[in-house]
Structure formats: structure tokens, C-alpha cells
């Protein structure tokens, strides 16, 4: 069962046609760990940076939750640190609340979840799962990380400039965003351009790598579903992001060059008429923004579904139910995601014809989502479930995504959306999908692939504490939002809704949610401690501690440069668990038939 120790080599050696990388000399610290071309290092860079930004965005929310629970009261402990411009006497100003709100969304989506889910997991796992020595374009890969990094830094720095960070929502609707004073919004736009560029470069890499670098025998229908999910996600990023990049340039021109792309004629701001040419259209911004931002939410969920699929197959010791259905559904989902965007704009005065169009496409897109969720649920039927830490998070994902998805239905239907648009119901819906949905799936992925990346397992006791505490707290934060939203509580109200009498009956939920959010923060401590401790002191494992079937488990833990000791060959599908007549309960893709 031992693998011969031939040095790492790629598939073909055409020395006369290939420019040699510095593969066989020892690289210095900077080339090895900072400006690395290795997809595993870049993946870890993305993951760690993404996790740090997630923590930062989470902290912003924890501060917001104080203001919502106790509006107008000085923030304890850190209130004085926020500065007089933001919170004089520790009491949060509305402008600062708006900054926290806009940046919480922006940071979590663009600097947290996507970099971790796509940049982190995609980069680290995808080449390994397809048997490739690296990504197709390693230099491009490195550039996309640093573009992301620059974009992230730009966003964070904006907090410290006069006027503070962007405060017009993560959606940056015109004309509010265009007329926002200070540099915060301008920095947001510049930051977005860096972040978008990073995603575009990355998506080209992922698609070419998946198409071109699959190992021998790895046909399309033998790919792990994780690869399919990342593949479709990459097309979403490739084709949906550019319109937002263009829109960002247009808004920059409106802010800096005096144009009126998004400014209608006759606009009056703070009592003064704007001296601009006018004849622009604020809805143009909304269209260009949501053309990306709707596919973006599928960018948020698809990698998560991919991760959950891998963990479920592995911990049920059964093949996934309905592999073909999963594949066709994710492709169909990706395609549909481009033609539903204006369900975010039902209240903008579209006529009934176009409203009906978007309502219809939105209802249709729920079908593949349900197929995927059902297939994953059915995969549990008759299974020998191993309740490992990754499996706890993967199992929780299913009902959480179910709630998130179902609560999307009244939002996607135009008539009910009239009542629910811009209320806390919307916030509850999308957080269910992203927070106990995607982020739980990402935790599952971290616990699952940590041994591959480090050669050590994370501690299971700390993992269970992390899971149970997070699961309870996160539901206490987000479930009340449906109650608040149905009562009519608006989004983005810095006073927690106290100014409207119709909110009076549900205001007390703000206090519950505040404590739940802070508890959720506390329960991340076991995870953070576990993560760092296990790198050094976790239980050492061999290359396939989970007894899994996919290709990444053929490589050493951690894999060296070039990944595989011998050229990987694939003999069967990705989820051959409990094959009748087999000696073990798993038949890895990469092992030939026993004679």
C-alpha cells in the first residue's frame, strides 16, 4: 500500500517546450510563503485572509447589535475607542451605524465568504480533486490573491479617512451613494474594482484548470460534485461581475468627473439643486448592480453545497443520491441565476409584464435548488452516519438552507414582496442562507480538509462545543427577524425601529438578538483556539484519515509541490462507498481494481 517515492512531477515532460519554473531549487521565505505560485499556499492565504475579514465584519455587526438592543446608550468597553466622529461619548451616531451596516455587508460578502469559499477552498481543493499539479495559470493565481488583498485593505482603510467608510448600504444605490460626502464611497468603488478583478482572474483560472487539467480517467461525470459546484460558480463570476465593474466606473465618474449617469434631472440635495447635466437614471445603477448581485448569491451558496456534498458522502459511507440530478441542477441553476435579478427591484415601478417575467424565472430557479437539497437529504436515507465534526455542520446546513430557501419564496412573488420588501424578513431570509447555511458549510470544510492541509486533525471536543453553541445562537439571532419583518420593521434603521409605533410589539427581539449575537461571537473562540492549536498539536494523521474516495486523499498530508508522488489515474466514480463485495466500505477513485 506504500507509494513509491518518485519525485513530484507533472504529467508531461516536454523540456524543450516549457519554461521551467523554479520548482527544484529551494525558495526563499518570501517566494515560498508570501509571493508563492503554489495553489495550496495561495488557497491558505485566501482562507486565512478571508477568515480575518469575516471576523472583522462580524465584529462590526456585534457593535451594531448594541445600538439596536439599546438605542442611544453608550457602548460599553469599546465605546470610547470608536472616536468622537463616530460615537461621541460612546453613543453611536446614525451616520456611523450606516457605515457599519454598509461595510458589514460588503466585507462579509466580498471579502469574507467568497474569498474563503472560492479563493480558499476552490484554490486548495480543486487541483487536488482533479489530480492536477497546480492551477493552469499559477502566476495569474497569485495576482488574483494580491488584487483581493489590495481591495480588502482599501475597504478597511476607508474607515479611518475623514467622513468614514461608505454608508449607503452594500447596495450603494444612487443617488444617495453618488451624493455621499467624504471619500468612503469613492474608496468602496475603488476597492470593489480590485475585488472584482481578483474574481475575474480567478474564474478564468478555475475554468481552464477544470477543463484542461483533469487526470487520466477523470471524465466529467466522475468529478466530485464540489468540482462541478466550483466550475459553475466560476462562470457566474466570469460573466456577471463585469457589469458591476462597469457600473463602479460609472459611479466613480458621477462622483469625481461630474457626470450624471445615475442622477436624474432636477435633483435637490440638502435644499440645494445639483448643478449637473442630469438626465441620468438611478434605476440603471440598480440594474447593473443586481445583474451581478443576484448571481453573486449563488456564488455564495454553490461552493457550500459542494462542500456539504463531499462531507455527506464521506460520512454516510454511501454514494450521493442523484449525482446526475445534482449536476444538471447546478448547471441549470447557474444559467437561471442570470435572469432573475430584478426580483430585487419589484418596488421600482416596473410594469406587471416585467414583474411577471422576473417572478416566473424566480419561481423556476427554486426548482433546481430544491432538487439539490432533496438529493442531499435523500443521501442520508439508510446511511451509516458518522457524526464527525464536519458532518455536524454539514447536517445542520440542510434544514438551515431549507429555511433560507423557503423564506425566499414570498420575496420572489411580487405581491407578497410588496409587504416584505426592505423589512427584516429579507435580512432573515438571506442570513439564513449565508450564515447557518454557507458559513456552516465552510466550517464543515475547514474541519474536513484541515488534515489534508496540515497533516493533523482538529480537536473534536472543541469542535462540538463550537457547533452546538453556534447553532443555537445563530438561530436566536436570525429567526426573530421573520417575526420582526412580518410586523413591518424596516431594514437599516439605526434606532432599532423605535421611531415607528408599529414596531412596538417586536422591539424586545432586538435585545434577544443582541445577546445571541454576542454569544455567537463567544462560541467562535473554541474554533479559533482549535484552529491554531491543532496546527502544532493536533493528532497527526496519514494521507486519508476520513477514509474518503476522492483524489485529494491520494496526495500526502500536506501535499508537496506538484501534489502527487505518482501521476494520478482515476478508475471509477467519486462516491464508491460500501460497494457490495468489496473488502472495505470505500473504494477510492485512484486505486485500481485489486487483482
Amino acid at each position: 500500500m506504500d507509494h513509491p517515492t518518485t519525485p513530484a512531477r507533472g504529467v508531461q515532460e516536454h523540456a524543450h517546450t516549457h519554461v521551467h519554473e523554479h520548482a527544484h531549487e529551494e525558495l526563499g521565505f518570501w517566494r515560498k510563503y508570501v509571493f508563492s505560485l503554489d495553489h495550496k499556499v495561495i488557497g491558505i492565504q485566501y482562507a486565512v485572509t478571508g477568515l480575518l475579514f469575516l471576523l472583522f465584519g462580524f465584529t462590526l455587526m456585534m457593535i451594531m447589535r448594541w445600538q439596536l438592543a439599546y438605542p442611544g446608550k453608550a457602548i460599553p468597553i469599546i465605546g470610547g475607542l470608536l472616536g468622537v466622529a463616530n460615537a461621541p461619548g460612546g453613543i453611536m451616531l446614525p451616520e456611523f451605524y450606516n457605515q457599519l451596516g454598509a461595510m458589514h455587508g460588503t466585507i462579509m460578502v466580498f471579502m469574507g465568504v467568497v474569498p474563503l469559499a472560492v479563493g480558499g477552498f476552490g484554490n486548495f481543493v480543486l487541483p487536488l480533486q482533479i489530480g492536477a499539479p497546480d492551477m493552469a495559470f499559477p502566476k495569474l493565481n497569485m495576482m488574483s490573491y494580491w488584487s483581493f488583498f489590495l481591495g480588502g485593505v482599501t475597504m478597511i482603510v476607508s474607515f479611518f479617512l475623514p467622513g468614514g467608510a461608505a454608508n449607503s448600504g452594500w447596495t450603494s444605490y444612487a443617488p444617495l451613494s453618488v451624493t455621499a460626502i467624504g471619500n468612503g464611497q469613492t474608496m468602496w468603488l475603488i476597492g470593489m474594482i480590485f475585488l472584482i478583478t481578483s474574481s475575474l482572474l480567478g474564474s478564468v483560472n478555475f475554468i481552464v484548470t477544470t477543463v484542461q487539467l483533469r487526470a487520466k480517467g477523470l471524465s466529467w461525470m466522475r468529478l466530485p460534485f464540489f468540482v462541478w459546484a466550483q466550475f459553475v460558480t466560476s462562470f457566474l463570476l466570469l460573466l456577471a461581475f463585469p457589469p458591476l465593474e462597469a457600473a463602479g466606473v460609472l459611479q466613480l465618474m458621477d462622483r469625481l468627473a461630474g457626470t450624471s449617469f445615475f442622477l436624474p434631472s432636477g435633483l435637490v440635495v440638502s435644499g440645494k439643486a445639483l448643478t449637473v447635466a442630469g438626465e441620468g437614471n438611478p434605476l440603471l445603477w440598480q440594474h447593473l448592480f443586481w445583474f451581478l448581485a443576484h448571481p453573486e448569491v449563488y456564488v455564495l451558496i454553490l461552493p457550500a453545497m459542494g462542500i456539504v456534498s463531499e462531507v455527506i458522502a464521506n460520512n454516510t459511507r454511501k454514494p450521493l443520491w442523484g449525482y446526475k440530478a445534482l449536476v444538471y441542477s447546478v448547471i441549470f441553476l447557474g444559467f437561471m441565476s442570470f435572469i432573475v435579478w430584478a426580483h430585487h427591484m419589484f418596488m421600482t415601478g416596473m410594469g406587471t409584464t416585467m414583474s411577471a417575467f422576473f417572478q416566473t424565472t424566480t419561481m423556476i430557479i427554486s426548482i433546481p435548488s430544491v432538487v439539490i437539497l432533496t438529493a442531499l437529504l435523500l443521501s442520508l436515507w439508510g446511511a451509516s452516519i458518522r457524526f464527525t465534526t464536519p458532518m455536524l455542520f454539514a447536517l445542520a446546513f440542510l434544514p438551515m438552507f431549507g429555511i433560507g430557501g423557503l423564506t425566499g419564496l414570498p420575496l420572489g412573488l411580487a405581491p407578497s414582496d410588496i409587504h416584505l420588501h426592505d423589512t427584516y424578513y429579507v435580512i432573515g431570509h438571506f442570513h439564513y442562507v449565508v450564515a447557518p447555511g454557507t458559513i456552516f458549510a465552510l466550517f464543515a470544510g475547514i474541519y474536513y480538509w484541515f488534515p489534508k492541509a496540515t497533516g493533523r486533525k482538529m480537536n473534536d471536543t472543541l469542535g462540538v462545543i463550537h457547533f452546538v453553541g453556534s447553532f443555537i445562537a445563530i438561530n436566536l439571532v436570525f429567526f426573530p427577524m421573520f417575526i420582526e419583518g412580518l410586523a413591518g420593521m424596516n431594514r437599516r434603521m439605526y434606532d432599532g425601529g423605535t421611531m415607528y409605533t408599529h414596531n412596538a410589539a417586536v422591539l424586545h427581539w432586538n435585545v434577544v438578538q443582541g445577546y445571541a449575537a454576542w454569544a455567537l461571537g463567544v462560541f467562535q473562540i473554541p474554533f479559533i483556539v482549535n484552529f491554531f492549536m491543532s496546527i502544532k498539536w493536533g493528532k497527526a494523521v496519514d494521507r486519508n484519515p476520513w477514509e474518503a474516495t476522492t483524489l485529494e486523499w491520494a496526495a500526502p498530508s500536506p501535499p508537496g509541490h506538484g501534489n502527487f508522488l505518482t501521476e494520478p489515474v482515476v478508475y471509477r466514480g467519486p462516491y464508491e462507498y460500501s460497494v457490495p463485495g468489496s473488502a472495505r466500505d470505500f473504494s477510492p477513485q485512484f486505486e485500481p481494481e485489486k487483482a
Binding site: 495559470f137 481552464v208 463585469p242 460609472l250 461630474g258
Partner: protein
């Protein structure tokens, strides 16, 4: 460590990595300029009146001729490499670079002329979208010129080490360049004539 199919084509897809990569990048560029064309449509249909005759049609037409010619020289630069004539390749690549430069110089004169009369992007919505479309297009021309300069200069040494890989890279540069030409083929009538 070698990445497979960097130069030779993968049998089942018939593609080298760079070929697929550049086409995917161009697909994203179609969406980028597409957003600006969509902007043009929305702004024009929403305007009370759309200016005519504000742009220098003659200069625009000249620039169109220049860019089309540069597309011809670009494809001939690649064709020369396929026929193993590095000298001819260089001539055509330099010609492409120079034609691109002339295009930008003409654009500079166009912009300067407008600015001298206070007609910047703030002047009206038509000029706003004109400057944005042609400006972004101009940045793409500049980007192309930088890549060409690299292949005329330090990048040319790849021809000695790996002529096939160098030829591929020139082909990909050409694809990018033809795309830039393609965008202009639509920009010219839309902005200058309609």
C-alpha cells in the same frame, strides 16, 4: 513542475490552456462593454434630446481605418511566426504597435479639442457615455500596446527557447487585439454616426 497543455493541445478538448483562457477573458470583456452599451441604450431612450454632430466624424473614421489596419498587421505578425519568419513577424508587430499609438494620439487630439471648449464628461449625458466608452476602450488599446512592447522587447527571447509557446502567446495577443478592434467597430457608428 510542469503544467500540462501549456503549449501542446489536450487531445479531447483540442485546446491549449492559454487559448481557452484568453477566450474566457474576452467573454468577460464582452459583458464589461455590454454593460456600457446597455447604459447607452437606457440613457439615450430616457433623454429629451440626444446631441448630433458634436463629434469629429472624419477623425473617427480615420481612427477606424487605423485600427482595422492594425488588426491586419497583427494577424500577419502571427502568420509570419507560423511560417517561421521571425523578422517579418517583428516588422508587423512593430507596425501594429505604431498604428495603435497613432490611434491614441488622434484620440488625444479629439479629447483636447472638446476640453478646450469646456466639453468634458460633465457637459451632457452623451459626452459622459462617449468619454467613458472611448476612454475604457483607449485603456484597452494602451494595455495591448504594453503587451506588444513586451513581446517586441524582453519577451522576444521566448522565440529562441520555445518558438511554439511564443507563437501561441502572439496568437492570444492577436485575439485580444482583434477584440479591441471589434469593440471599436461598434463604437464608431453608435457614438459618431447615430
Amino acid at each position: 513542475m510542469n503544467i500540462p497543455y501549456t503549449v501542446e493541445e489536450r487531445p479531447d478538448t483540442g485546446l491549449a490552456n492559454g487559448k481557452l483562457g484568453i477566450w474566457l477573458f474576452l467573454a468577460s470583456e464582452v459583458m464589461l462593454f455590454g454593460a456600457l452599451f446597455s447604459t447607452y441604450i437606457i440613457l439615450r431612450t430616457g433623454s429629451t434630446e440626444w446631441p448630433h454632430g458634436e463629434l469629429n466624424v472624419a477623425l473617427g473614421a480615420v481612427n477606424t481605418v487605423i485600427l482595422i489596419s492594425s488588426s491586419v498587421t497583427m494577424v500577419l505578425a502571427w502568420a509570419a511566426l507560423k511560417m517561421n519568419n521571425f523578422g517579418r513577424h517583428r516588422l508587423f508587430l512593430i507596425a501594429t504597435f505604431l498604428l495603435a499609438g497613432i490611434f491614441l494620439v488622434n484620440k488625444y487630439f479629439e479629447y483636447a479639442d472638446h476640453f478646450a471648449r469646456g466639453e468634458g464628461p460633465w457637459h451632457n449625458t452623451f459626452l459622459a457615455i462617449y468619454y467613458t466608452l472611448t476612454g475604457l476602450h483607449g485603456l484597452h488599446i494602451l494595455g495591448g500596446m504594453i503587451v506588444m512592447a513586451y513581446f517586441i522587447g524582453p519577451g522576444a527571447s521566448l522565440w529562441k527557447r520555445s518558438p511554439e509557446q511564443f507563437t501561441n502567446r502572439i496568437e492570444y495577443t492577436g485575439l485580444y487585439w482583434h477584440f479591441v478592434d471589434l469593440v471599436w467597430i461598434f463604437l464608431f457608428p453608435i457614438l459618431y454616426l447615430l
